[in-house]
Amino acid sequence: MALSPDVEGSTYPAARFRVDESRVRAFADAVGHRGPGVPPTIVTVPEIAAGLDHVVSDPRLGIDLSRVLHGEQEYRWSRPVVVGETLTASATIESVRDKGGMRFLVLGTEVRDEAGELVASARSTLIVRGDG
């Protein structure tokens, strides 16, 4: 699994997500959120669009999605998400480490509001299982 050295620290194009009522309701139903307010993990939606969606098609990484496991996940919220706002997420590859035939990829994502204020930050560790 040779890797070009410039991968760590590289960023992907930002993703925008409008927090509309119907999306919030669908997400809340899926995770059993009974209210009030918006489910805090709705920030996963722009996080995936900003990070995972790019990672699995990044030729420098050559990741086969069927071999990806989710190892760890952390969120820090600065404030609750509110209906009607538009969030912008941008992801950075913080580290790539190979260990025991597996690759550990750490992605950091910042989710900001229209004013550029930080709403939440996320850190996701993906584990890519090796061949066989």
Binding site: A26, H33, P39, T41, S66, E72, W77
Partner: protein
């Protein structure tokens, strides 16, 4: 109902809650989150990856844990941080139980660190899809 800082004691268990993981909810989560990995929708794909049937997204399980936590807190704004370790898969058609315990309290900031977990029973044995994980919350 919402919990208050002064109600908390280090070592106290939080009231746990169980939820059946349905295929429909996992499909709804895929659509709502945008994570359309077929591992979470197609039994054949799941079996090819070595699982008995469709696997729930780790983030579905973390989202369910978050809903349980927010339900107990009474307010999403009380949740400051959540960090989880995914230790085992969750399969559709099984029940998961969310729970936790107060690990430490800081009266100055009225914040608490909670240990949180997700447990399931499978073939007569306990499995821990999420364990040794923690949440930081701020309460009135």
């Amino acid at each position: 109902m919402s919990v208050r800082f002064d109600d908390l004691e280090v070592g106290r268990d939080l009231p746990s809650s169980s939820r059946l993981v349905t295929r429909e909810d996992v499909k709804a989560y895929a659509d709502a989150s945008g994570d359309e990995n077929p591992l979470h929708q197609d039994d054949e794909v799941a079996r090819a990856a070595g699982f008995p049937r469709v696997v729930a997204h780790g983030m579905y399980t973390m989202g369910t844990l978050t809903s349980w936590l927010v339900d107990w807190l009474g307010d999403p704004a009380a949740l400051l941080r959540l960090q989880v370790h995914f230790r085992a898969p969750v399969f559709v058609d099984e029940s998961i139980e969310c729970g936790g315990r107060v690990r430490s309290l800081d009266p100055q900031t009225r914040t608490a660190v909670l240990e949180v977990w997700v447990r399931a029973e499978r073939d007569g044995a306990e499995v821990w899809p999420i364990r040794k994980s923690e949440a930081e919350v701020r309460l009135d």
